[in-house]
Amino acid sequence: MMNLLTGQLAREFLLVSRVRTDVLNPLIFLLLAVTLFALALEGRPQTLQAHAPAVLWTLVLLTNMLALDGLFRRDFDDGVLEQLFLQADAPYVAILSKLIVHWLVTGFAMVVCVPLLGLGLYLPGDVLPVLMLALLLGTPTITCLGAIGAALTVGLRRGGAILALLVLPLLIPVLIFGVSAVNRVVEGDPPLAELYWLAALSLASITAAPFAVSAALRISLEQ
Protein backbone atom coordinates (compact mmCIF):
# COMPACT_ATOMS: atom_id res chain seq x y z
CA MET A 1 0.00 0.00 0.00
CA MET A 2 2.79 2.42 0.93
CA ASN A 3 4.67 1.50 -2.26
CA LEU A 4 1.61 2.40 -4.30
CA LEU A 5 1.23 5.70 -2.43
CA THR A 6 4.88 6.72 -2.77
CA GLY A 7 5.11 5.53 -6.38
CA GLN A 8 2.01 7.47 -7.34
CA LEU A 9 3.21 10.57 -5.44
CA ALA A 10 6.51 10.42 -7.34
CA ARG A 11 4.65 10.10 -10.65
CA GLU A 12 2.36 13.04 -9.88
CA PHE A 13 5.25 15.30 -8.83
CA LEU A 14 7.09 14.29 -11.99
CA LEU A 15 4.05 15.15 -14.12
CA VAL A 16 3.67 18.51 -12.37
CA SER A 17 7.34 19.30 -12.95
CA ARG A 18 6.93 18.47 -16.67
CA VAL A 19 3.66 20.35 -17.23
CA ARG A 20 4.28 23.57 -15.32
CA THR A 21 1.41 25.40 -17.03
CA ASP A 22 -1.01 23.30 -14.96
CA VAL A 23 0.45 24.96 -11.86
CA LEU A 24 1.04 28.45 -13.19
CA ASN A 25 -2.19 29.05 -15.13
CA PRO A 26 -4.53 28.97 -12.10
CA LEU A 27 -2.22 31.26 -10.11
CA ILE A 28 -1.99 33.72 -13.01
CA PHE A 29 -5.78 33.60 -13.36
CA LEU A 30 -6.15 34.35 -9.65
CA LEU A 31 -3.75 37.29 -9.88
CA LEU A 32 -5.51 38.68 -12.97
CA ALA A 33 -8.98 38.30 -11.47
CA VAL A 34 -7.98 40.09 -8.24
CA THR A 35 -6.40 42.86 -10.31
CA LEU A 36 -9.59 43.21 -12.36
CA PHE A 37 -11.65 43.52 -9.18
CA ALA A 38 -9.30 46.19 -7.85
CA LEU A 39 -9.55 48.10 -11.13
CA ALA A 40 -13.35 47.71 -11.29
CA LEU A 41 -13.64 49.14 -7.77
CA GLU A 42 -11.44 52.07 -8.91
CA GLY A 43 -8.74 51.17 -6.41
CA ARG A 44 -10.56 52.81 -3.48
CA PRO A 45 -8.87 51.44 -0.34
CA GLN A 46 -11.92 51.38 1.92
CA THR A 47 -14.15 49.65 -0.65
CA LEU A 48 -11.43 47.15 -1.53
CA GLN A 49 -10.71 46.37 2.13
CA ALA A 50 -14.41 45.86 2.87
CA HIS A 51 -14.86 43.43 -0.01
CA ALA A 52 -11.43 41.75 0.10
CA PRO A 53 -12.33 38.59 2.08
CA ALA A 54 -15.37 37.84 -0.10
CA VAL A 55 -13.50 38.63 -3.31
CA LEU A 56 -10.48 36.50 -2.40
CA TRP A 57 -12.51 33.51 -1.23
CA THR A 58 -14.81 33.61 -4.26
CA LEU A 59 -11.88 33.85 -6.65
CA VAL A 60 -10.03 31.04 -4.88
CA LEU A 61 -13.14 28.89 -5.33
CA LEU A 62 -13.49 29.73 -9.02
CA THR A 63 -9.77 29.30 -9.68
CA ASN A 64 -9.92 25.86 -8.10
CA MET A 65 -12.81 24.93 -10.38
CA LEU A 66 -10.65 25.94 -13.33
CA ALA A 67 -7.78 23.74 -12.15
CA LEU A 68 -9.96 20.79 -11.13
CA ASP A 69 -11.53 20.40 -14.56
CA GLY A 70 -8.30 18.91 -15.88
CA LEU A 71 -7.50 16.80 -12.81
CA PHE A 72 -8.40 13.44 -14.40
CA ARG A 73 -9.00 14.45 -18.02
CA ARG A 74 -5.55 13.65 -19.42
CA ASP A 75 -5.35 10.30 -17.63
CA PHE A 76 -8.89 9.48 -18.79
CA ASP A 77 -8.23 10.41 -22.42
CA ASP A 78 -4.88 8.56 -22.52
CA GLY A 79 -6.30 5.36 -21.01
CA VAL A 80 -4.09 5.65 -17.91
CA LEU A 81 -7.11 5.42 -15.60
CA GLU A 82 -8.14 2.15 -17.28
CA GLN A 83 -4.74 0.67 -16.51
CA LEU A 84 -4.89 2.00 -12.95
CA PHE A 85 -8.26 0.38 -12.26
CA LEU A 86 -7.20 -2.88 -13.91
CA GLN A 87 -3.86 -3.23 -12.16
CA ALA A 88 -4.14 -1.58 -8.77
CA ASP A 89 -5.71 -3.50 -5.90
CA ALA A 90 -6.44 -0.22 -4.12
CA PRO A 91 -6.95 2.54 -6.72
CA TYR A 92 -8.16 4.91 -4.00
CA VAL A 93 -4.59 5.05 -2.68
CA ALA A 94 -3.37 6.30 -6.05
CA ILE A 95 -6.26 8.76 -6.13
CA LEU A 96 -5.39 10.03 -2.64
CA SER A 97 -1.85 10.78 -3.78
CA LYS A 98 -3.23 12.56 -6.85
CA LEU A 99 -5.40 14.72 -4.60
CA ILE A 100 -2.49 15.49 -2.28
CA VAL A 101 -0.28 16.69 -5.13
CA HIS A 102 -3.11 18.63 -6.75
CA TRP A 103 -3.87 20.40 -3.46
CA LEU A 104 -0.18 21.22 -2.93
CA VAL A 105 0.21 22.83 -6.36
CA THR A 106 -3.13 24.67 -6.38
CA GLY A 107 -4.74 25.08 -2.94
CA PHE A 108 -1.52 25.40 -0.97
CA ALA A 109 0.08 27.54 -3.67
CA MET A 110 -2.88 29.91 -3.38
CA VAL A 111 -2.52 30.00 0.41
CA VAL A 112 1.08 31.11 -0.10
CA CYS A 113 0.14 33.77 -2.69
CA VAL A 114 -2.91 35.18 -0.93
CA PRO A 115 -1.09 37.48 1.55
CA LEU A 116 0.34 39.41 -1.37
CA LEU A 117 -3.09 39.67 -2.98
CA GLY A 118 -4.62 40.60 0.39
CA LEU A 119 -2.15 43.44 0.83
CA GLY A 120 -3.02 44.59 -2.70
CA LEU A 121 -6.64 44.80 -1.57
CA TYR A 122 -5.61 46.82 1.53
CA LEU A 123 -6.35 44.04 4.02
CA PRO A 124 -4.72 44.85 7.39
CA GLY A 125 -1.58 42.82 8.10
CA ASP A 126 -3.00 41.27 11.29
CA VAL A 127 -5.89 39.75 9.30
CA LEU A 128 -3.65 37.96 6.82
CA PRO A 129 -2.60 35.05 9.11
CA VAL A 130 -6.26 34.17 9.73
CA LEU A 131 -7.05 34.47 6.03
CA MET A 132 -4.16 32.10 5.31
CA LEU A 133 -5.24 29.69 8.05
CA ALA A 134 -8.84 29.72 6.84
CA LEU A 135 -7.69 28.98 3.29
CA LEU A 136 -5.32 26.29 4.55
CA LEU A 137 -8.26 24.60 6.28
CA GLY A 138 -10.81 25.27 3.55
CA THR A 139 -8.97 24.48 0.32
CA PRO A 140 -8.67 20.70 1.02
CA THR A 141 -12.49 20.55 1.04
CA ILE A 142 -12.57 22.44 -2.26
CA THR A 143 -10.05 20.00 -3.77
CA CYS A 144 -11.83 16.90 -2.47
CA LEU A 145 -15.39 17.86 -3.39
CA GLY A 146 -14.17 19.27 -6.70
CA ALA A 147 -12.33 16.04 -7.44
CA ILE A 148 -15.56 14.06 -6.96
CA GLY A 149 -17.27 16.36 -9.45
CA ALA A 150 -14.31 16.16 -11.82
CA ALA A 151 -14.40 12.36 -11.66
CA LEU A 152 -18.13 12.29 -12.43
CA THR A 153 -17.82 14.68 -15.37
CA VAL A 154 -14.48 13.51 -16.83
CA GLY A 155 -16.20 11.57 -19.59
CA LEU A 156 -18.41 14.46 -20.64
CA ARG A 157 -17.43 16.78 -23.44
CA ARG A 158 -18.35 20.02 -21.68
CA GLY A 159 -17.55 18.72 -18.22
CA GLY A 160 -16.08 22.00 -16.97
CA ALA A 161 -19.37 23.89 -16.87
CA ILE A 162 -21.22 20.93 -15.35
CA LEU A 163 -18.45 20.51 -12.78
CA ALA A 164 -18.95 24.07 -11.56
CA LEU A 165 -22.73 23.63 -11.47
CA LEU A 166 -22.36 20.40 -9.50
CA VAL A 167 -19.72 21.44 -7.03
CA LEU A 168 -20.07 25.16 -6.36
CA PRO A 169 -23.37 24.82 -4.46
CA LEU A 170 -21.76 22.20 -2.22
CA LEU A 171 -18.94 24.60 -1.41
CA ILE A 172 -21.20 27.39 -0.13
CA PRO A 173 -20.58 26.42 3.55
CA VAL A 174 -16.81 26.62 2.97
CA LEU A 175 -17.23 30.07 1.43
CA ILE A 176 -19.46 31.28 4.27
CA PHE A 177 -17.19 30.00 7.04
CA GLY A 178 -14.05 31.22 5.25
CA VAL A 179 -15.29 34.76 4.68
CA SER A 180 -16.88 34.88 8.12
CA ALA A 181 -13.59 33.86 9.81
CA VAL A 182 -11.77 36.81 8.22
CA ASN A 183 -14.61 39.25 8.92
CA ARG A 184 -14.64 38.20 12.59
CA VAL A 185 -10.99 39.16 12.94
CA VAL A 186 -11.65 42.49 11.21
CA GLU A 187 -14.41 43.11 13.77
CA GLY A 188 -12.08 42.10 16.63
CA ASP A 189 -13.77 38.77 17.47
CA PRO A 190 -12.04 35.36 17.64
CA PRO A 191 -12.76 33.23 14.52
CA LEU A 192 -12.44 29.85 16.28
CA ALA A 193 -15.88 28.48 15.47
CA GLU A 194 -15.49 29.12 11.74
CA LEU A 195 -12.00 27.61 11.69
CA TYR A 196 -13.19 24.51 13.55
CA TRP A 197 -15.98 24.09 11.00
CA LEU A 198 -13.55 24.46 8.11
CA ALA A 199 -11.22 21.88 9.71
CA ALA A 200 -14.11 19.47 10.32
CA LEU A 201 -15.30 19.78 6.73
CA SER A 202 -11.78 19.16 5.45
CA LEU A 203 -11.27 16.09 7.63
CA ALA A 204 -14.58 14.63 6.51
CA SER A 205 -13.92 15.31 2.83
CA ILE A 206 -10.33 13.99 2.95
CA THR A 207 -11.59 10.78 4.55
CA ALA A 208 -14.40 10.18 2.06
CA ALA A 209 -13.06 11.69 -1.16
CA PRO A 210 -10.61 8.95 -2.30
CA PHE A 211 -13.38 6.33 -2.13
CA ALA A 212 -16.00 8.61 -3.68
CA VAL A 213 -13.64 9.69 -6.47
CA SER A 214 -12.69 6.08 -7.10
CA ALA A 215 -16.36 5.09 -7.43
CA ALA A 216 -17.10 8.12 -9.63
CA LEU A 217 -14.18 7.35 -11.96
CA ARG A 218 -15.31 3.75 -12.29
CA ILE A 219 -18.76 5.00 -13.31
CA SER A 220 -17.16 7.34 -15.87
CA LEU A 221 -15.02 4.49 -17.25
CA GLU A 222 -18.12 2.34 -17.66
CA GLN A 223 -19.82 4.87 -19.95
Binding site: L4, L14, L15, D78, Q83, L84, F85, A94, E222
Partner: protein, 180 residues
Protein backbone atom coordinates in the same frame (compact mmCIF):
# COMPACT_ATOMS: atom_id res chain seq x y z
CA UNK B 1 -28.08 -5.62 -23.08
CA UNK B 2 -25.49 -6.24 -25.79
CA UNK B 3 -24.63 -9.90 -25.20
CA UNK B 4 -26.92 -12.62 -23.93
CA UNK B 5 -25.84 -16.19 -23.42
CA UNK B 6 -22.39 -15.46 -24.71
CA UNK B 7 -19.88 -18.17 -23.90
CA UNK B 8 -16.23 -17.81 -24.80
CA UNK B 9 -13.57 -20.24 -23.68
CA UNK B 10 -9.99 -19.11 -23.86
CA UNK B 11 -7.66 -22.03 -23.17
CA UNK B 12 -3.95 -21.90 -22.37
CA UNK B 13 -1.85 -21.83 -25.53
CA UNK B 14 -4.63 -20.28 -27.58
CA UNK B 15 -4.65 -17.07 -29.56
CA UNK B 16 -8.23 -16.24 -30.47
CA UNK B 17 -8.95 -13.67 -33.13
CA UNK B 18 -12.12 -11.70 -32.50
CA UNK B 19 -13.65 -10.39 -35.69
CA UNK B 20 -16.81 -8.58 -36.61
CA UNK B 21 -18.08 -5.49 -38.33
CA UNK B 22 -17.93 -2.05 -36.72
CA UNK B 23 -20.33 -1.84 -33.82
CA UNK B 24 -20.61 -5.60 -33.37
CA UNK B 25 -19.27 -5.33 -29.81
CA UNK B 26 -15.64 -6.45 -30.07
CA UNK B 27 -14.36 -3.60 -27.91
CA UNK B 28 -17.27 -3.95 -25.50
CA UNK B 29 -16.58 -7.67 -25.09
CA UNK B 30 -12.88 -7.12 -24.45
CA UNK B 31 -13.55 -4.28 -21.98
CA UNK B 32 -16.12 -6.45 -20.22
CA UNK B 33 -13.73 -9.39 -19.92
CA UNK B 34 -11.07 -7.02 -18.62
CA UNK B 35 -13.45 -5.93 -15.87
CA UNK B 36 -13.89 -2.38 -17.12
CA UNK B 37 -17.60 -2.83 -17.81
CA UNK B 38 -20.16 -4.44 -15.51
CA UNK B 39 -21.29 -7.94 -16.38
CA UNK B 40 -23.33 -10.78 -14.99
CA UNK B 41 -21.39 -13.99 -15.06
CA UNK B 42 -17.93 -15.23 -14.37
CA UNK B 43 -15.24 -12.56 -14.30
CA UNK B 44 -11.59 -13.32 -14.82
CA UNK B 45 -9.31 -12.12 -12.02
CA UNK B 46 -7.83 -8.82 -13.19
CA UNK B 47 -4.42 -9.63 -11.72
CA UNK B 48 -3.81 -12.18 -14.46
CA UNK B 49 -4.98 -9.96 -17.31
CA UNK B 50 -2.99 -7.56 -19.43
CA UNK B 51 -5.24 -5.22 -21.38
CA UNK B 52 -4.40 -3.08 -24.37
CA UNK B 53 -7.25 -0.88 -25.49
CA UNK B 54 -7.71 1.68 -28.24
CA UNK B 55 -5.79 4.16 -26.10
CA UNK B 56 -2.24 3.36 -25.09
CA UNK B 57 -2.58 4.00 -21.36
CA UNK B 58 0.55 6.14 -21.31
CA UNK B 59 1.11 9.55 -19.75
CA UNK B 60 2.40 11.79 -22.52
CA UNK B 61 4.80 13.93 -20.47
CA UNK B 62 6.52 10.86 -19.00
CA UNK B 63 9.12 8.71 -20.74
CA UNK B 64 8.54 5.04 -21.66
CA UNK B 65 10.76 4.06 -18.72
CA UNK B 66 8.76 6.19 -16.25
CA UNK B 67 5.44 4.96 -17.64
CA UNK B 68 6.43 1.33 -17.40
CA UNK B 69 7.87 1.77 -13.90
CA UNK B 70 4.52 3.25 -12.84
CA UNK B 71 2.68 0.33 -14.44
CA UNK B 72 4.75 -2.17 -12.48
CA UNK B 73 4.33 -0.14 -9.30
CA UNK B 74 0.52 -0.02 -9.38
CA UNK B 75 0.45 -3.75 -10.01
CA UNK B 76 2.41 -4.25 -6.80
CA UNK B 77 5.61 -5.30 -8.57
CA UNK B 78 9.02 -3.85 -7.82
CA UNK B 79 10.37 -1.49 -10.46
CA UNK B 80 12.60 -3.68 -12.60
CA UNK B 81 14.48 -1.44 -15.04
CA UNK B 82 16.30 -4.42 -16.53
CA UNK B 83 13.10 -6.10 -17.70
CA UNK B 84 11.71 -2.75 -18.90
CA UNK B 85 14.80 -2.10 -21.03
CA UNK B 86 14.63 -5.66 -22.36
CA UNK B 87 10.96 -5.21 -23.31
CA UNK B 88 11.66 -1.90 -25.05
CA UNK B 89 14.56 -3.45 -26.95
CA UNK B 90 12.34 -6.38 -27.94
CA UNK B 91 9.92 -3.86 -29.47
CA UNK B 92 12.82 -2.08 -31.19
CA UNK B 93 12.44 1.19 -29.28
CA UNK B 94 15.20 0.61 -26.73
CA UNK B 95 16.94 3.87 -27.56
CA UNK B 96 13.82 5.93 -26.87
CA UNK B 97 13.45 5.05 -23.18
CA UNK B 98 14.08 8.63 -22.00
CA UNK B 99 11.99 10.50 -24.58
CA UNK B 100 8.64 11.86 -23.39
CA UNK B 101 5.98 9.61 -24.87
CA UNK B 102 4.15 12.57 -26.38
CA UNK B 103 7.18 13.24 -28.60
CA UNK B 104 7.15 9.71 -30.03
CA UNK B 105 5.29 8.78 -33.19
CA UNK B 106 1.93 7.00 -32.91
CA UNK B 107 3.55 3.70 -33.86
CA UNK B 108 6.33 4.12 -31.31
CA UNK B 109 3.76 4.94 -28.62
CA UNK B 110 1.88 1.77 -29.52
CA UNK B 111 5.08 -0.21 -29.11
CA UNK B 112 5.59 1.27 -25.64
CA UNK B 113 2.06 0.18 -24.76
CA UNK B 114 2.82 -3.30 -26.09
CA UNK B 115 5.93 -3.43 -23.88
CA UNK B 116 3.53 -3.55 -20.90
CA UNK B 117 2.54 -7.05 -22.00
CA UNK B 118 6.10 -8.26 -21.64
CA UNK B 119 6.94 -6.73 -18.27
CA UNK B 120 3.61 -7.63 -16.65
CA UNK B 121 3.94 -11.36 -17.35
CA UNK B 122 0.14 -11.79 -17.25
CA UNK B 123 -0.98 -15.12 -18.75
CA UNK B 124 -4.13 -13.62 -20.34
CA UNK B 125 -3.77 -10.89 -22.95
CA UNK B 126 -6.81 -8.94 -24.08
CA UNK B 127 -5.81 -6.84 -27.06
CA UNK B 128 -8.05 -4.41 -28.89
CA UNK B 129 -6.70 -3.48 -32.32
CA UNK B 130 -3.04 -4.02 -31.33
CA UNK B 131 -1.83 -3.30 -34.87
CA UNK B 132 -3.10 0.28 -34.84
CA UNK B 133 -0.46 2.74 -36.12
CA UNK B 134 2.14 0.00 -36.57
CA UNK B 135 4.19 -0.48 -39.74
CA UNK B 136 4.80 -3.90 -41.31
CA UNK B 137 7.78 -4.44 -39.05
CA UNK B 138 5.71 -3.55 -35.98
CA UNK B 139 2.92 -5.91 -37.03
CA UNK B 140 5.43 -8.73 -37.41
CA UNK B 141 6.79 -7.83 -33.99
CA UNK B 142 3.32 -8.13 -32.41
CA UNK B 143 2.75 -11.46 -34.15
CA UNK B 144 6.10 -12.63 -32.78
CA UNK B 145 5.10 -11.60 -29.26
CA UNK B 146 1.76 -13.40 -29.59
CA UNK B 147 3.43 -16.56 -30.92
CA UNK B 148 5.94 -16.61 -28.04
CA UNK B 149 3.20 -15.93 -25.51
CA UNK B 150 0.95 -18.81 -26.58
CA UNK B 151 3.95 -21.10 -26.99
CA UNK B 152 4.82 -20.35 -23.36
CA UNK B 153 1.31 -21.39 -22.26
CA UNK B 154 -0.36 -18.01 -22.22
CA UNK B 155 -3.52 -17.10 -24.10
CA UNK B 156 -4.69 -14.06 -25.99
CA UNK B 157 -7.94 -12.63 -27.29
CA UNK B 158 -7.23 -10.21 -30.11
CA UNK B 159 -9.89 -7.95 -31.63
CA UNK B 160 -8.67 -6.79 -35.00
CA UNK B 161 -9.84 -5.78 -38.43
CA UNK B 162 -6.51 -7.01 -39.80
CA UNK B 163 -5.88 -10.77 -39.89
CA UNK B 164 -3.96 -12.10 -36.91
CA UNK B 165 -1.36 -14.39 -38.50
CA UNK B 166 -0.75 -16.46 -35.38
CA UNK B 167 -4.41 -16.92 -34.37
CA UNK B 168 -5.29 -20.50 -33.50
CA UNK B 169 -9.03 -19.85 -33.68
CA UNK B 170 -11.37 -17.16 -34.86
CA UNK B 171 -14.61 -15.98 -33.28
CA UNK B 172 -16.90 -13.75 -35.29
CA UNK B 173 -19.29 -11.50 -33.45
CA UNK B 174 -22.24 -11.72 -35.79
CA UNK B 175 -24.20 -14.40 -34.05
CA UNK B 176 -22.28 -17.42 -35.30
CA UNK B 177 -18.89 -18.89 -34.62
CA UNK B 178 -16.47 -19.61 -37.40
CA UNK B 179 -13.66 -22.05 -36.69
CA UNK B 180 -10.21 -21.03 -37.92
Amino acid sequence: MLFTGLSLRLAAGECVELRGPNGSGKTTLIRTLAGLLPMQGQVLASSVIAYLGHTNGLAGPLSPLENLRWYLGIGGHAADDKSIHAALRRLEIGALFRQPVERLSAGQQRRVALARLLIGAAPVWLLDEPYTALDANGIACVDGLLAEHVAAGGCALVASHSPVAVATRMVELNGERVPA
